[in-house]
Symmetry: C2
Subunit: 367 residues, 2 copies
């Protein structure tokens, strides 16, 4: 673990090139307005000295950091059970890199960390933030919004824009539509659910059940809504016994599936809120002697690999383009930052409140 040595400064480069610091600065930052022979001399000096600008000094005067925070709320535990997280991060990283921005990762471990995150964001260390937190009662999005740092949310934040004085949080749990001015990116949970359920109905299934996700997350709520959208139009589709609450986990899926079989032994199709839930359901169905998809068709959500592919039978599921979501979040944020800087067409190019990415049904064997 060697110690880094002191690096050459602008001054040094200027001396070597026989020009002023200002000129070097110009060349280093794009180089407009410097005549070619000079610019070339400077570039040479930069190369020879291995000059790298000191970001701290630069930030001090520009008040910009070319850095973006990515805040991931730990309770979002799915994050540790599937590559969702990694893919999203990859998308974000690609986009940020393409625009010479750095990614500062902030993982939060419960409420105690909220203050820390808020302080960090308020501290002006980064130009903006990308925030993941999909729980209805999570105060973090509200807190961050109050801090006033440009932010794009990942997943529809389940929080209404009623302010809250920054105290113990007054975020409400309406769970419908974030307040105005809130930018977020989400996949079409509701539409995806509709397609899945419609697919089951088109297959001729009439007793289509839904094992929900954790209903304190907007994605679970939206998928349930999508299910209801379709089932509301199907004769007998409104049977409340067909909906069993679960929690996005395999064991939760098992439990829910067992309860479902108790309530409705005649069920002939199951739309599970995610692939993990479907996995639990599959196991219970198998144990109960039912064949999938012959007796009961099953559809999941997420297309979580390798789970969906390796399931027995391979899972038909709803795929979302996770990496693209990440990329889009970053793009929206950077665009917003750019607009904010050249305070010209800021309002001419207002960021959309919510961007919803499409989903696709991936047909495998289970439905």
């Amino acid at each position: 673990m060697t110690e880094a040595v002191s690096r050459p400064t602008l001054e040094a480069v200027a001396a070597r090139a026989g020009v002023s610091r200002a000129t070097v600065s110009r060349v280093v930052n794009g180089g407009d307005g410097v005549r070619e022979p000079l610019a070339e001399r400077v570039r040479q000096a930069v190369a020879e000295l291995g000059y790298v600008p000191n970001q701290a000094a630069r930030s001090l005067v520009t008040r910009r950091h070319d850095a973006v925070a990515v805040v991931i709320a730990e309770p979002e535990t799915r994050v540790f059970a599937d590559p969702f997280f990694a893919l999203q991060l990859r998308g974000i990283s690609k986009e940020l890199t393409a625009h010479d921005n750095q990614l500062v990762l902030l993982l939060t471990e419960g409420r105690d960390d909220h203050a820390r995150v808020a302080r960090y964001l308020a501290g002006g260390h980064v130009d903006g933030a990308l925030v993941f937190s999909l729980h209805l009662d999570d105060p973090l999005p509200g807190l961050i919004h109050q801090v006033g740092v440009p932010t794009v949310f990942g997943g529809r934040p389940g929080w209404s824009d009623d302010g809250g004085a920054g105290g113990p949080t007054r975020a409400t749990r309406t769970g419908r539509g974030p307040g105005p001015g809130v930018v977020y990116v989400d996949c079409d949970n509701r539409g995806g659910a509709r397609v899945a359920v419609r697919h089951l109905v088109d297959l001729g299934r009439r007793r289509v059940a839904h094992l929900t996700g954790a209903l304190d997350q907007t994605s679970a709520v939206d998928r349930l809504d999508g299910y209801r959208d379709v089932m509301g139009e199907v004769p007998g589709g409104n049977d409340p016994r067909l909906v069993v609450e679960s929690d996005f986990t395999p064991s939760g899926g098992e439990r829910a599936m067992r309860e479902l079989l108790d309530r409705c032994p005649d069920v002939d199709a199951v739309f599970a809120a995610n692939d993990l839930t479907a996995l639990g359901a599959l196991r219970v169905l198998r144990a109960s002697g039912r064949r999938v998809p012959e007796d009961v068709a099953v559809i999941g959500f997420d297309d979580m690999l390798p789970v969906a592919e390796e399931a027995d039978p391979p899972l038909t599921t709803v795929r979302q383009d996770i990496e693209e979501m990440g990329r889009l979040m970053a793009r929206l944020l950077l665009r917003g930052l750019a607009d904010g800087r050249d305070r010209t067409g800021a309002s001419a190019n207002p960021p959309p409140a919510g961007v919803i990415l499409p989903t696709t049904l991936i047909r495998r064997t289970s439905a």
Copy 2:
């Protein structure tokens, strides 16, 4: 996406508290050498004004950033197939947070990004780096080592310390023991493999095969070595047909298992290089009409959830404490940084070259 407002400076706090900037600075940074009544006045002013130090200004003079880069080489694709990545990051994040350090995430997408990463690290934006790259021929670790930024590697880097002038890379592929002065954290791949294989042998199995991982990764090489350690002592254990090269993927596992059954139909146990490989093996075994574990016992590696738990039958496997690995990496780096700063006992407390974390055998059903 509101614009952040300008924040109060040290100057402002000093004015409000009726002291000098120096005094405020002292209080803000630990507060030794300031008499209590004064210190209290300062703290009050800080609170009232909501003062947050400007990190850029601070870094400019201290030449420290309280930030650490985490470099993850994309080819390390396992990262996107299981929560390994997330867990490690969580461990790192916890440790860094506990020491008020920020985490700058650098994801690399092939060779083109190497220069970018090297430049960033050389640019002195961070105090140190945690680097993941377990491929034998990856030039990145060598590059980074040359840059001279304090670094701890995740996983034994498969690269020898022969310098290399920084050009197109002269990293060699010896793949044994990183050069001196290289700090890394790894799990006990070799020991874990030994325990797994020993377990199979103790079960009475005599034809124990190994489906390797991608042998350009040190972890795969080490696990193979562990397998050989044990099999070398078992009568008939040296049969080379029992080792089939694979690549850490389910489909690779299938392919390898098929080949294995061709070569050695009498195989009665399989140690797969990871859980995904085991998954593929399980499927082929089932298709071949063999029962697991009665006819063929199977052990995986990683304890990758939910794959291992949800496998059919649930997978016996070797678990590593991934989060702890991350935490340890961060701890080693921060300790090294601290030692480097108060240039006193630097050599009195030399960081160990490699820290190997233990593994545990998790017994489920498959063996």
